[in-house]
Symmetry: C2
Subunit: 349 residues, 2 copies
Amino acid sequence: MERATIADVAKAAGVSVSTASRALRGTGRVSQSTRERVAAEAERLRFMFSKSAASLASGRTMRVALLLPNEISRWFNSHVFEGVYEELASRDYDVVPYVIWDERDLDAFLRELPGNRNVDAVIVCSFDMNEAQSEALAAFSLPVVGVNTPSDRGYDATVRIDDAAAMLDAVRLLKSLGHKRLAYVTKPLSPSPFVSSGDVRVAGFRQAARICGYDEADVTVIPPLKAESMSRPQDVYSGIAARLVSAPEPPTGICVSADFAAMLLLKELRRLGRRVPQAISVIGFDDDDTAIASDLTTLHQSPTELGREAAQLALALMDGKTPAQPYVMMPTSLVLRDTTAAVDAVVGI
Amino acid sequence: MERATIADVAKAAGVSVSTASRALRGTGRVSQSTRERVAAEAERLRFMFSKSAASLASGRTMRVALLLPNEISRWFNSHVFEGVYEELASRDYDVVPYVIWDERDLDAFLRELPGNRNVDAVIVCSFDMNEAQSEALAAFSLPVVGVNTPSDRGYDATVRIDDAAAMLDAVRLLKSLGHKRLAYVTKPLSPSPFVSSGDVRVAGFRQAARICGYDEADVTVIPPLKAESMSRPQDVYSGIAARLVSAPEPPTGICVSADFAAMLLLKELRRLGRRVPQAISVIGFDDDDTAIASDLTTLHQSPTELGREAAQLALALMDGKTPAQPYVMMPTSLVLRDTTAAVDAVVGI
DNA sequence: GTGAAAGCGCTAACAC
DNA sequence: GTGTTAGCGCTTTCAC
């Protein structure tokens, strides 16, 4: 397939290159007849724009970078990606992922990409950069929008879920079911130093417990473990399950920071002979496929929506608009399934 | 951040633009001292290459397109993406996804992208194009590599899992467990007309049954349903479960084309009072998180590996090499969990 | 080992 | 409405 350039199209249609450009892009004033003639020739010659040439000349790349702190395939990441893609693709933008595992990757990104008009915007997902790093990013005159970032500093816009409200929903449910002692279990840490630590969520849980009148002594928080320190992921949860169950006053209402972790914990609790939900209630977070598989009561969130919202903000910013509400909080919702029940229902253990 | 161009760097280092280019890219002969001087100035000026300018001048875009027939967030897609990304990113390529839902999307892709040097290669995932379409793609002088495509025609290289061998593993297991009647359940069709239909897998199952000595009458195949035709996904499986269970001679060994579907079917079978694995054995496919959650015996496949392999082939082709083995078949492996058991163990129902 | 010069294919003033 | 003219920031012969 011989590459036809816009010059070829222009010549074939008997117009100048600039007219051909205007006609093909629908900008400026071009007569109906010329427009059609040019379009016909372009079609005939199988003309395609060179994105590189267009970018170079216009300064707009039609490309936005999506920064991820870990695997593209993770539930959260891939869903955010999907949302971002949907919005951006419909406006003809390409979205290019960059997985940033460590400082080296971030440095490389910062020193190679955002400068010389290589992307039109950057969307940063679940990232926790230090001040210097986010300043470095902000220093480029590019829209930077964050998804579930720990703070708004350094971002032109951010989108996040309302962790505090979510935890309040969960704790209120447990309270209403009569649970006297609660626990919060954090999923293992990702190896990337940039993943948001989830502190907001734990803090939200603690605060919710306080609001609902729980005494600090009745609230256990299991901090995250390093995933690598364990042979099998399962082992992490058998340890935690044992610890929870063997406490002098075992908690009966348990919140877990992610469904996958909740699912594993659930298995371990049952393996230890604890009946869920009869003896212990478990609430997950995310509402992913494992929650469905485990019939897990959980807090539903929609990372796809977060991605869509983030992309819309990026779009607005790229258009030079100032979003009316650049810092967006998205709701979660409690999904009741089969791992929560009233404490009154306890029969045996 | 003021954009420094290579000309600025060259001037600052007191060399010509071409020398600066050579120095920065490590190509051609440049003296050690110049190289260092140029590097230092580039660093100082925070120089970054303009990808567009480089592409335009060199004809290489350092970008490869990944064509997906449906959501980026799907287990298979996002894992292939991850594998592709890993290989390509380490060689400095960007990978840009394009979700092709329908003919319109494919036309748009075909007419806009691959031409004028907009990508260096195309990787096509689980795609089933017609002859004209794959010819159109092949007509560009670009490497095109397929992942789990129904055929090799039109591709410079393909990577796929060995569906036939996988199904043989599954059927052999069921046979060895004493199951007399088998069934194969296909997951609902995706709305995209381009997703590989999975015919290879069903054919593999049928063949495996034949090889293992099953009579055709003892083998049931439930064809895929249109997902949209159902109110809830669950309903699809309650229907199928009822149908399987109520047959005059109900099958007791069931293969399902995907874990998520197997998991839903499993729930329905149990809801109907059938004990799995005591009365019925179920084998899934994929080995994703829902398989873990459901303790599902399943055929493990690694889409990440497929992606890596595909990317390596694309890399070789872009380098102008001819891969020794361009049509690669990857193995699956049977993972035994808790949904398969010997028929002898049947106690009650 | 280094420099000069000619593009790569397009957009964007600016004229008319 | 349409054409002319400069570039955009690089890479790449080709000289020297």
